[in-house]
Symmetry: D2
Subunit: 391 residues, 4 copies
Amino acid sequence: MHQKLRLGMIGGGLGAFIGGVHRNAAQLDNEYDLVCGAFSSNPDKSKASGEHLGLPASRVYGSYQELFEKEKQLPENERVQVISIVTPNHVHFEPARLALENGFHVILDKPMTFSLEEALKLQEVVERTGNLFCLTHTYTGYPMVKEARQLVASGKLGKIRKVYVEYPQGWLSTFKEGGSVESHDIKQATWRTDPKQSGIAGAMGDIGTHAFNLAEYVSGLSVTKINADINVVVEGRLLDDDGAALLKFNNGASGVLFATQIANGEENNVKIRVYGELGGLEWQQEDANSLQVKRLNHPTEIYRTAGGNYLSSFAQHNTRTPAGHPEGYLEAFANLYRNFALCVKARMRGEEPQPEWQDYPGIQDGVRGMAFIENVIASGKSDQKWIDFTI
Amino acid sequence: MHQKLRLGMIGGGLGAFIGGVHRNAAQLDNEYDLVCGAFSSNPDKSKASGEHLGLPASRVYGSYQELFEKEKQLPENERVQVISIVTPNHVHFEPARLALENGFHVILDKPMTFSLEEALKLQEVVERTGNLFCLTHTYTGYPMVKEARQLVASGKLGKIRKVYVEYPQGWLSTFKEGGSVESHDIKQATWRTDPKQSGIAGAMGDIGTHAFNLAEYVSGLSVTKINADINVVVEGRLLDDDGAALLKFNNGASGVLFATQIANGEENNVKIRVYGELGGLEWQQEDANSLQVKRLNHPTEIYRTAGGNYLSSFAQHNTRTPAGHPEGYLEAFANLYRNFALCVKARMRGEEPQPEWQDYPGIQDGVRGMAFIENVIASGKSDQKWIDFTI
Amino acid sequence: MHQKLRLGMIGGGLGAFIGGVHRNAAQLDNEYDLVCGAFSSNPDKSKASGEHLGLPASRVYGSYQELFEKEKQLPENERVQVISIVTPNHVHFEPARLALENGFHVILDKPMTFSLEEALKLQEVVERTGNLFCLTHTYTGYPMVKEARQLVASGKLGKIRKVYVEYPQGWLSTFKEGGSVESHDIKQATWRTDPKQSGIAGAMGDIGTHAFNLAEYVSGLSVTKINADINVVVEGRLLDDDGAALLKFNNGASGVLFATQIANGEENNVKIRVYGELGGLEWQQEDANSLQVKRLNHPTEIYRTAGGNYLSSFAQHNTRTPAGHPEGYLEAFANLYRNFALCVKARMRGEEPQPEWQDYPGIQDGVRGMAFIENVIASGKSDQKWIDFTI
Amino acid sequence: MHQKLRLGMIGGGLGAFIGGVHRNAAQLDNEYDLVCGAFSSNPDKSKASGEHLGLPASRVYGSYQELFEKEKQLPENERVQVISIVTPNHVHFEPARLALENGFHVILDKPMTFSLEEALKLQEVVERTGNLFCLTHTYTGYPMVKEARQLVASGKLGKIRKVYVEYPQGWLSTFKEGGSVESHDIKQATWRTDPKQSGIAGAMGDIGTHAFNLAEYVSGLSVTKINADINVVVEGRLLDDDGAALLKFNNGASGVLFATQIANGEENNVKIRVYGELGGLEWQQEDANSLQVKRLNHPTEIYRTAGGNYLSSFAQHNTRTPAGHPEGYLEAFANLYRNFALCVKARMRGEEPQPEWQDYPGIQDGVRGMAFIENVIASGKSDQKWIDFTI
């Protein structure tokens, strides 16, 4: 008998971007019922959002603290089970901590926390409570990204030598923050460039962490040294909107990472290339259902979502439709939600989840992501060429 | 207050392809609750499917007749409101008719019916009952396909002269039908090539109708004459698996349509090109979020989903995420479901729906699609070069 | 010791398009010296062109008749050896005949002659004189087109079932012919749409023949039946500017061919797709150095010019630079010239040329091309659905 | 009256790669006659190469010194006019110096010299003799690269903020140098990784200089600081085969450059992206006839070779065929040769050459290229984060 998980949401009120994405993702596979929420720190906005989403007023809360308090008093078979947190970065740690300590599983948007210090504290909470935790690094949810990781892991590319990862955007090419017009862009720009809400990094935190996560996820390697150029390009901006970093990995490979929000005319074409002794691979979000597999003196092969049995079980598990039916960003996002649900339900049944289900980003990715932010910003400010990647 | 519509499903039991797609599409935007179903003509299978989907046993029915009978007896605020029919073609008309006559709105998979005769009867039922009706020609749900239609309608391409539309697939390159192994492909092949279930056409009904619908939708024109070459390529197959047709349109334009299921190695890359006196456009599913707009002696422009305010309200309305977040097949499908829901709810509120909401395929598309099947198959058998497209 | 062939040119004076292309092609590989010409039917223009090209005045002739007469009187080691004819279609046969009968080898632009009747006569001349003859169907000169042909011939795609070939252009979207302004487009439009210069066909002769030749060359098959829709789209035009044809081949395969010059915004993206029982291939001029090789349930492979030893000797022989250095239209054209030179020189040495050298289009391609023109135009005018492809 | 320039070649004997490319490029437009050469430091090889190329034995020399000595004694109207030097790097300076001092114009392959010191000396010679000098940075010969430069120069992209340039190759993924088998790859690998022939840099000299030149050419900016990671990836190799550098430009813009020869499976897809306040552009060799022009909230425009009058005179001047006829690497190379010839001939006529003709890389590009090599290698070895780009 199919059982849906009861989902609660913190943040993501009307007009937010990522809250809607989380809800789409949660709904797509029928694994969750949104049953409650504290959608805004402004109780009236929270209420209006809950109403708009069709929730009963009794389960729309004015604050996340209230949410946990009230939900805990509900009978177990009504009480929320999974908490999705989609607030700005400075309101990540505390609700996540409270959720975990109150016995809920947590899905948290990235970057994980406001600081590495908070990240390490959260790691302790996750480990102590034993509750499940997912961090929404969306790009690792794409079937062809999963295939890329498996391909590297299989050894088919040989020892990895080089990683190139990039995340070019253009939407912050001009100064928009604090604009009086109510628009998606202005709202997003305002908090994402505000150190009080975002932390010490702008572009590096918002999208650099995605690039970093993708590089480590696909290559299976860890960054050990970093040499970064971090820039504030648009006048008046308070946080970096552009950066690039040279990388060293734990197996001796080297890499290049860049992320920018001022590449005027670019959308969101995150891209990764990995080369080993025996071959290389290339994936980019604009052609998300293709994975190029390259080898010297051989034809390049185009692996495709649902392309056939040549694909790994990880790619196949994360695909919904036959070959040629493009699966997009929301499907990738939904894969995180679905895999997390499968693991939560396995836990409830007392079973070991399948390896494919467990393949979602978690607390370790979050800690490394926050370490990336601190290291890359430190490197950007440093006169030292290479700094050790420290946690 | 957000209100979800209560959805019932006929067909789409475990292991079906399109049933799952319909459910994903219905769930994505939180506009529907699946509340009941008759998922198979085999009551045990229906029951198992309903259980798997988390429905209460009381609302899983052994037949669609039972579904209508029992649901009608439920209080109005519990009773199903929209019926989604995802059975093979020979079980389209009767449940659709019953649903409409029992006061339900209907979403029906294509091709609409088993024959044109049935289609015309269904048209009469839709008109008589006044209930809303949607036919799931998915491709018209893509934002960039909607943009294409608006672009033609705006006159920017001038008078249309030429339409090329194609739908190449390769999955029926070998004889799979009736195979004993339980596989998605074999199951799909078996009914789709069976005249008793599919009707007089194979490829022409399954995907030719999509190509035809796309051509008329984007161009805003109607086919008036057809000259077709219809083939059964794989030995032993009972229905066409390949075909091409030369077309004439009501404004004097000409066109070429082809659809095949034996193009070994092709996935599902439906593609349309339309040329007018002043310019042309090109869209293909493999790059679904781009629309190429061409003009002699000018740079080709790439319109993009969520690309900016240069896009029509129709494209913008059918988009969920900012530019650069690929929207795929399920999102296109979900656009049909969402627009239908918006119209149903406007009806319930006694309001006129917005033009953008009404832009989903309906009974007229279905009638023309069935006429296409009959005309293209007739042309294929005829020695006459051009036959008039008749309904 | 490297020996260049002495080349003479008929037509191709200043301002012509294809004459310059022929000269670029002849020069690229250092296989020819342009030693004489009759560049225009207007002796003054011919003289000016010859001067511009750096020829001695004594070898610039006022007519092709004069050219043959005078050149024959020159000592054998000065006399022209190969005649390149780049005039409009109505001045193909006679200079080609004279050249051959006077002992010269001939390179002739397509379509081969003004009519099929002339083509058959020319075939007789070629066979009778035994001199070598090349027809410049450029697209068969691309390395990846040669690879495509070899791939089909190798049987790797299995028995061929379907051929799609297309040639969309947009430059004749408006009526330009006879315009008083001196422009490349107007000059080209004027003669190419003039029945007195071009013959019975416009687009079908100019580019339809290329598509037809490509289809037969790659598939290794022969068209046996044709069912065509031929249109004059632009008002006032005297010859077809658009057409499409359904095809049957001698092995039972079917096909679709289209060629148009009114697809506003299209450049010159000739494209072919061929599908057999075991796989398919796709090539298009816009990405001329890639050949897609497709197979159900396998990754698509991208064969690349100079990509490695997996390529046939035919592809390798027709390549000049290492992988990743794009070879374009002029290189494809030059391959025809180079292979022809290699065969002429083998003939002079009394040796059998290698198969790779002999792989250039010849008299047989020309006869079939002219037959295509007559058959496709006849079909366009006929009420009969399928007409036999006759020569 | 068309006048061809008399060309002599130093290096480029049988089996060399770039010598053949130079000859193709020189021949394509009929601007040069190869009249003499010293094709190898081995007189027998030189003789055999000259014979193969059809040169009279009297003008095939055993050394470049001999070439200059003997050619000077020839009457002026027979004597070579332009010297093309295509030897390994360590034999660039001396023949170039001698050629210039003996009154010849020089075309020299890149990187310009063995060291920056030599480059500065050569600069002095060029300035002192006043003879013309061209350095074959091929990529700046592509029409769409010229368009890119003009677009930046026009101000349409606004002030430039960011430059990304990359040059990934894979052919040196394994250790090939010194291999006993006679192959193109082995021959090339052997000298290009030998410090005695190549100088202090491998990949950085061979292809890094191309990337650097492209970045400065398109952006119109100069690099002022560099922070590089230089690697020898393949064991046993004597020079760098991989590197990446962070850059600062003279207007405050920043950039990322990478060049590698160990990206297994990559061919030669040099690519550049430049972003300004108002928009961005992207060009890559794999799609050499397209230039993407991007702008926030607008459709991306695809500028195309020969696409129309919207193109600058620089792009139009460097194009041979109408739109849709791909122009490739040899055409780009030939544009350098052709422009150089036009300037040499203008000089001979005592006229000022047109700006479009003068747009070929020269001594200044060569000096900066050699400075790039020295600076990037120095930075790679330095613990200092940013080093000033010095000459």
